[in-house]
């Protein structure tokens, strides 16, 4: 099993995407929680922003992150020829 340059690029692309998505995850989770007190001053539709994020906003971001990852990786699989055959 010999890895080609394309394989290595694929893996690096995956690592980069993973790192970016985890950074977003970190911001909406931990940075938000850390600054929850000042963020509570901002109000949207009746919710203090930190309450809204913890109850709903961050959750929506999580769903989007996972959905985006699945779509982007499918594309990368095809580009780098590591996608699964139809019989998998």
């Amino acid at each position: 099993m010999q890895l080609t340059q394309s394989h290595i690029d694929y893996w690096h692309k995956n690592l980069r995407l993973t790192a970016i998505l985890l950074a977003i995850w970190f911001v909406v989770t931990y940075l938000m929680a850390w600054f929850a007190i000042p963020l509570a001053e901002i109000k949207i539709f009746g919710w203090p922003l930190s309450f809204y994020m913890a109850a709903q906003g961050s959750l929506v971001v999580y769903v989007v992150i996972i959905g985006y990852y699945a779509v982007a990786m499918r594309k990368a699989d095809l580009e780098h020829g590591v996608h699964e055959g139809e019989d998998e």
Partner: protein, 689 residues
């Protein structure tokens, strides 16, 4: 095969659409029966037995003797359905019943569970699911064994998997026992075993295959049961049937109401009475042992005085009861008064502001609250990405890409419930604060009296300042009531209460199924087949697996019947343990080729060790069980978040020890490449048989 997979999916869609329709018809039929005079208890029975019968039916239809079918449902569960099954597997009694109640009681602080139990799926999706699917065997110890070469790591994997799954399953069976006993009037112990039967019919004959298809059915029931009452309550208070979108306005009104109640003189009067009681208990405690005699004499004298005078009977009865219940010894008195003091002190505080993050009297208290919020988020997230019964589900999809999509559907289906729970908590709280508080005792809503008589620990309202009006400070409410009583609070017929109970039961049963299967598989597959008898025939392996499932289930039910304590803590503890033991070794095994066998072994021991050490020295129940000496909490972090120390210790240990020991062999490096790419030319094959 591609076309057969497609028609399989079509068929599943057809079945489950019929099933959902059938279930709705069943509920409607019961609703009509209720209007025609069917007693509530029978409705409870109908829901209990009909749903268990249904699961049994699916279980029997899915029976199997094939190894791959038994362990991973034949690896052909479509992403969408695996998502639903994971949702049910995931959402336990703690989520279904406990979550909204925790939010009701703790406000913002409780949202840490909401974030932790959803955000963890980001880690599952990005760091684990696709790679584990490519590896494609049966259990999590399988992966550890293959990646780190040998049975030592595998055995640690087995021990850790059993430890956290067992802690978790006890909490689930406990939930099953509570629901069955409350809605049918059976005793708790009997409820546990009825529930156990329900769990076993799902998994015994068909293993993972049966569990998967019952879990899909259970998800449908639980989500319907959760949504109906909340939507109704939302219409009642806002006129809009989408609670998640409009409860912000209710939250604003609730915050106003909290301010009113904090300043209200009548409320302050009640809180003052509790402060006086706390002080009285404290004075008695300080005066021990002398106060023991004087207090007893005073109680006896009061009875005599009341007898001599023409006191009302109720007052005399109360005084007699107080004398009769007087502690037998100074030690017993100390215990009782300490408890009285704590109970009264807890009720002297004004209402906790629901929307405010980290309320506290000073900077230090706020910082501790913030740290504990982050601690819970951290441990629930990393625990999610390490609990074997969840990770195992991603072995069952047909491909790597399906596994990725499947995590998306999993979180989507979980999200539906979790972003509704905060809305439910706010709506229910608003209802209590405006429609119960301030009412005369004579005209309380009917559900209040009904639940008070069921269980005083769930709801008790006593007129403390004798003004005939309910003050907030006079209400003691248990978290679990929020979901259980919502149908009645919203003014819905009893059939919806039955539906909610069926939903709670579905949540608890489905999680318990997944967990029991994980434990039994760790024993039958990893311990028996991989380590003791590698030549066992497929028939033998299935037989052993089923026998072990039975044994584990009975042990778990026995431990549960001992009532080992707080459900939410048990669940949290399982997450911290799983995070500390598995997360570092699994993720570093995929992303760092250099991670070595001894690195993994020492990492699992160190991570789990630190986590357990912290828990048994800081959690009161564990301290009394194991007789350990209590210690000060590090940075004030609660024991439930012990994983916050365990995970970093595990990661650092693996890193250091790996660099000190020889690099893994070439085969292991190839295995890592193998799991990183969905498909490689000339690839090795690691799929389990």
């Amino acid at each position: 095969m591609a076309t057969s997979q497609k028609s399989f999916t079509q068929q599943l869609k057809k079945y489950y659409t019929f099933y959902t329709g059938g279930f709705v018809a069943f509920v409607v039929a019961l609703a009509i029966a209720e209007q025609m005079g069917m007693p509530p208890r029978w409705i409870g029975y109908c829901f209990l037995f009909f749903t268990i019968l249904l699961y049994a039916g699916i279980g029997i239809m899915s029976r199997t003797v094939e190894v791959a079918e038994y362990y991973v449902a034949g690896r052909r569960v479509p992403a969408f359905f695996n998502g639903m099954a994971t949702g049910a597997d995931w959402m336990s009694a703690a989520s279904f019943i406990g979550m909204a109640g925790t939010l009701y009681l703790t406000g913002f602080q409780g949202l840490s569970f909401i974030m932790g139990w959803t955000g963890g799926y980001v880690l599952v999706a990005l760091l684990l699911a696709p790679y584990l699917r490519k590896f494609g065997q049966f259990t999590i110890p399988d992966f550890l064994g293959a990646r780190y070469g040998g049975n030592i790591v595998r055995s640690f994997g087995v021990i850790a998997a059993i430890l956290c799954s067992f802690t978790y399953v006890v909490a689930q069976i406990y939930g099953v026992g509570i629901i069955t006993s409350r809605f049918t009037g059976l005793e708790f112990g009997i409820g546990v075993f009825v529930g156990l039967a329900g769990i076993l019919v799902c998994s015994f004959l068909g293993g993972m295959r049966a569990v998967t298809w019952t879990q899909v059915a259970q998800y449908i029931i639980l989500i319907v049961a959760y949504m109906i009452p909340v939507v109704w309550l939302s219409v009642k208070h806002t006129g809009v049937p989408i609670p998640q979108a409009v409860y912000g306005k209710v939250l604003e009104r609730l915050t106003e109401r909290e301010k009113q109640l904090t300043a209200d003189p009548k409320e302050q009067e009640v809180r003052k009475i509790f402060a006086d009681r706390a002080k009285a208990a404290d004075d008695k405690l300080k005066a021990l042992p002398a106060s023991f005699e004087t207090e007893r004499a005073a109680a006896a004298k009061k009875v005599e005085d009341l007898r001599a005078g023409a006191a009302p009977k109720a007052e005399l009865d109360a005084a007699e009861a107080a004398l009769k219940g007087f502690p037998a010894s100074p030690d017993a008195a100390k215990e009782k008064w300490t408890k009285d003091k704590a109970g009264a002190t807890a009720r002297t505080a004004p209402p906790r502001p629901h929307a405010t993050p980290y309320p506290g009297k000073d900077e230090a208290a706020r910082d501790t609250a913030r740290l504990n919020f982050i601690g819970v988020v951290f441990c629930m997230m990393f625990g999610t990405a390490a609990l074997p019964h969840i990770l195992m589900r991603y072995y069952t999809t047909p491909s790597v890409q399906e596994a990725r999509v499947s995590v998306f559907w999993s979180l989507f289906f979980i999200f539906l419930l979790y972003f509704t729970a905060p809305a439910l908590a706010v709506l229910a709280k608003f209802d209590v604060y405006t429609l119960v508080v301030g009412k005369a005792f004579a005209e309380l809503p009917r559900w209040v009296n009904a639940w008070q008589s069921v269980d005083a620990s769930l709801l008790s309202i006593v007129d403390i300042n004798k003004d005939g009006i309910v003050q907030l400070a006079e209400i003691v409410i248990g978290g679990d009531i929020i979901v259980l009583a919502t149908p009645e609070i919203a003014g819905l017929p009893y059939v919806i209460s039955g539906l909610v109970a069926a939903g709670g039961l579905a949540a608890a049963l489905s999680t318990a199924d997944g967990l029991l299967l994980t434990i039994a598989n760790a024993l039958s597959h990893d311990l028996y087949y991989k380590m003791i008898n590698p030549n066992a025939s497929p028939t033998m392996r299935i037989t052993v697996a089923k026998a072990l499932l039975l044994v584990v289930a009975i042990i778990a039910a026995y431990v549960t019947s001992l009532k080992p304590g707080n459900i939410l803590f048990l669940v949290g503890a399982a997450f911290s343990m799983a995070a500390s033991a598995f997360f570092p070794a699994l993720v570093m095994g995929i992303f760092w080729k250099r991670a070595s066998k001894w690195g993994a072994i020492s990492g699992i021991i160190a991570g789990l060790g630190v986590c357990l050490y912290y828990m048994v020295h800081t959690y009161p129940t564990f301290i009394s069980w194991f007789g350990t000496t209590p210690m000060t909490k590090w940075f004030g972090l609660e024991p439930i978040s012990a994983g916050m120390f365990g995970v970093p210790v595990g990661i650092v240990t693996i890193w250091i020890v790996s660099l000190l020991t020889p690099a893994p062999e070439k085969e292991v490096q190839e295995l890592v490449d193998h799991v990183r790419y969905p498909s490689l030319a000339g690839d090795i094959d690691t799929r389990g048989t």
